[in-house]
């Protein structure tokens, strides 16, 4: 029941917002509906904790701990973004950058986007999962092109073209998986592509086809997750999309794309043994971290900086899944959790600064944000520390877990590369954001009154980050452990 409601609620919201013409009512509907989604997601997490897995419509929809984790994080990110969006777009609206028509576009497309992301995690059928991931791309393209400037059109075009190539590779991979299992599950019924069905058939699948399939899937969904070298759309899209959409892309789409890869990773390790797919995940993960590092050091634009940070975090998670053992997947999922909780804060801070100064280039802002926007500046610095893995933030724990798993599983080589990247990125990030926040402001810049609507979601995230750093409530910890067992339990 919760499964169905979770999918119906965003669709209903999109339909209602499509009919409204008043800005205020669209704001209200979106915030209320995001809150309802969050409540439903929490209910789903509770049900999954109690029954291990839930399903609906004869197994058409299916949720285990892994899906519940992804759905919960998506709902949380969408919720904070919905609150932040209200005041963000009010500012744009007052400056007459956007019209009510544009705003309506945002308020109709965002729920469809969220719907697609929920469907990714809840669909049992891997074909439907593909349809949903492609749907999420389609729903977000026009959000990236939202401001309709030359740069945003360029970003949107790159996003959809690179995304379409990636997604068609993923379809090829899905098809090959279907073929690899077709002699067991048959090609007649829809259940042939159901993940639960494929999981039981995995040991007998055609290994040659499945190996090729996993490579295609990793390339395809990896494009969507922004794994290097398929990451090139990320900095453009993250810097051009309106801030709430960019935050959803960074903190929710990333998880859903990784979720897609994980489902196939589980099948592949069950059929081919753990070495093949985890090896690929590990090397692509390390590659992403290595590629992100120099771009973070030499970055000139803070929105693009966040995109490279997201590529780095994708890498960290992949390394966790790749090193395996019982600790690796747990660490990676823990990292996914902390990343999704904290990352929106950085986007919101960056959005505040960008809206106030009218630019996202470090050099043009100068410095001294702390004198002009004290709350934003303090949160920006705190968020930076949290996201680069400074204790007491949770990401320190998760990175340490991944690190110790990699020492156990793959020896010092991988671990030292990992530490090198994490430390360099910490230094680069702190240098950039420190310069931006501290120091003296440029003459002629005025102090900004920070509205409460805007600070509310930011303070909420900051409080949660701090809280979860010290104490992770046991149901959540249990959920992440369960999900880790689903990914790593095949060994």
């Amino acid at each position: 029941m919760t499964l169905v409601l979770l999918l119906l609620a965003p669709l209903l919201e999109a339909a209602v917002c499509g009919l409204l013409y008043s800005r205020r009512w669209m704001e209200r509907v979106s915030v209320i509906s995001a809150a309802i989604n969050l409540v439903l997601a929490v209910l789903l997490v509770r049900n999954v904790a109690r029954f291990q897995s839930v399903s609906a419509f004869n197994g058409f929809l299916y949720a285990d701990a892994l899906s519940a984790l992804v759905v919960g994080l998506t709902a949380f990110v969408a919720f904070v973004c919905a609150i932040y969006a209200v005041s963000y777009f009010r500012t744009d609206f007052e400056r007459q950058i956007i019209t009510v028509g544009r705003l309506k576009e945002y308020y109709t497309l965002t729920p469809l986007f969220v719907f697609a992301l929920f469907l990714v995690a809840l669909a049992n059928n891997l074909g439907i999962m593909w349809v949903a991931i492609e749907g999420s791309t389609l729903a977000s393209v026009l959000l990236i092109a939202f401001y309709n400037q030359k740069t945003s059109l360029e970003a949107a075009w790159k996003y959809i073209i690179i995304g379409s190539i990636g997604i068609s590779m993923a379809l090829f991979g899905t098809l090959l998986t279907y073929y690899a299992a077709s002699h067991i599950v048959g090609t007649e019924s829809i259940e042939g592509l159901n993940w639960t069905r494929l999981l039981s058939a995995a040991p007998l699948m055609n290994p040659k086809a499945l190996r090729l399939a996993f490579i295609f899937i990793l390339m395809g969904y990896g494009t969507k997750a922004g794994i290097a070298p398929m990451h090139t759309w990320k900095p453009d899209s993250y810097s051009q999309a309106p801030v709430p959409s960019a935050a959803i892309l960074a903190a929710a789409v990333l998880n859903c794309a990784l979720y897609g890869i994980l489902r196939f990773h589980i099948l592949a390790s069950k059929c081919l043994g753990p070495e093949f797919s985890s090896g690929l995940l590990l090397w692509f993960g390390l590659g992403s971290m290595l590629i992100a590092t120099p771009f973070i050091l030499a970055q000139t634009n803070f929105r693009r900086l966040l995109a490279y940070s997201s590529i780095d975090h994708t890498g960290i998670m992949l390394v966790g899944f790749g090193v395996g053992g019982s600790l690796g997947p747990f660490g990676a999922l823990l990292h996914m959790f902390y990343h999704a909780v904290t990352k929106p804060l950085l986007f919101f801070c960056a959005g505040n600064v960008q809206q106030h100064f009218g630019t996202a280039v470090f050099r043009k802002v100068g410095g001294g944000v702390i004198h002009l926007m004290p709350v934003t500046a303090v949160l920006f610095l705190a968020g930076t520390l949290a996201v680069t893995g400074t204790p007491p933030a949770g990401m320190f724990q998760s990175e340490l877990t991944v690190l110790s798993a990699s020492v156990q599983g793959r020896g010092l080589w991988v671990a030292s590369l990992f530490v090198g990247c994490v430390v360099t990125i910490f230094a680069g990030f702190l240098y950039h954001i420190g310069n931006l926040v501290l120091g003296a402001p440029r003459p002629g810049t005025s102090r900004k009154v920070e509205s409460w609507w805007r600070l509310l979601p930011m303070l909420l995230i900051a409080a949660l980050t701090l809280l979860f750093g010290f104490w992770l409530p046991s149901p959540l910890l249990h959920l992440i452990q369960q999900a880790g067992q689903i990914v790593g339990g095949v060994r």
Binding site: I128, T151, I165, L176, Y178
Partner: protein
């Protein structure tokens, strides 16, 4: 069903797959935008025929529906949308590519060989599928190559759609298509995708006063 009609069906499948590959090669050398779109429509028509033949030979009835959807959407609706887009934006009908025609066609030939090599391990001599799978892989690869090679937004979209045709062919060759509901979902996505690509190329044409995507080069680093 008599042995003869099955034999005929298999030959028809091979013929249609070959025709699709020929059309793909023609696309690499074509210089006029409306003709490019017409060629895509023709290729999709061959695909629909092939799907119908597979459905007939193997008694796989749900493939008929996929064939019908291909006929409706890829042969009629999408080409119409794209032709209308050309008229609305008033772009020049000349296709511009980075490489010249002989070089492009040579590369397409090479990619076809790669397609046959990739498909080889999956070929089972008693089945009809292996030829189609090789062609499908070749279509897929050539589609991507054409996408990189084209400068105009619309011709990139057409190239993407031909790669999609290749995928569909692979699906039919390997497993008689996907389960129906997945198939319908994919068609829905492709249709919406074409519409959104249309909207975007329209906006690009208006803002940049050209559909040449090599002008999109502001975002760096």
């Amino acid at each position: 069903m008599s042995y003869d009609s099955i034999e005929l069906g298999h030959r028809l499948i091979t013929l249609m797959a070959a025709a699709m590959l020929v059309v793909q090669m023609l696309l690499a050398g074509q210089r006029l935008l409306p003709t490019v779109i017409a060629l895509f429509s023709l290729q999709s028509f061959f695909l629909a025929c092939l799907a119908a033949a597979v459905a007939y030979v193997n008694h796989a009835h749900h493939v008929y529906i996929a064939a019908g959807l291909t006929l409706l959407l890829k042969v009629i609706v999408m080409p119409m949308l794209l032709q209308r887009l050309i008229r609305q934006t008033g772009t020049r009908v000349q296709v511009e590519s980075y490489l010249n025609t002989p070089a492009s066609i040579l590369i397409c030939g090479g990619l076809t060989l790669v397609g046959y090599m990739v498909a080889h391990p999956f070929s089972q001599p008693q089945e009809h599928g292996h030829g189609s799978l090789a062609v499908a892989t070749a279509l897929f690869l050539i589609g991507f190559f054409l996408m990189i090679n084209q400068r105009k937004a619309i011709s990139q979209v057409v190239a993407l759609l031909t790669a999609e045709n290749g995928l569909f062919l692979a699906a039919i060759a390997l497993t008689y298509g996907m389960p129906l509901i997945v198939e319908v979902g994919i068609f829905f996505d492709v249709l919406v995708g074409v519409m959104i690509l249309g909207i975007l190329s329209y906006r690009i044409a208006e803002t940049f006063e050209s559909m040449d995507t090599s002008k999109l080069r502001r975002l760096r680093g």
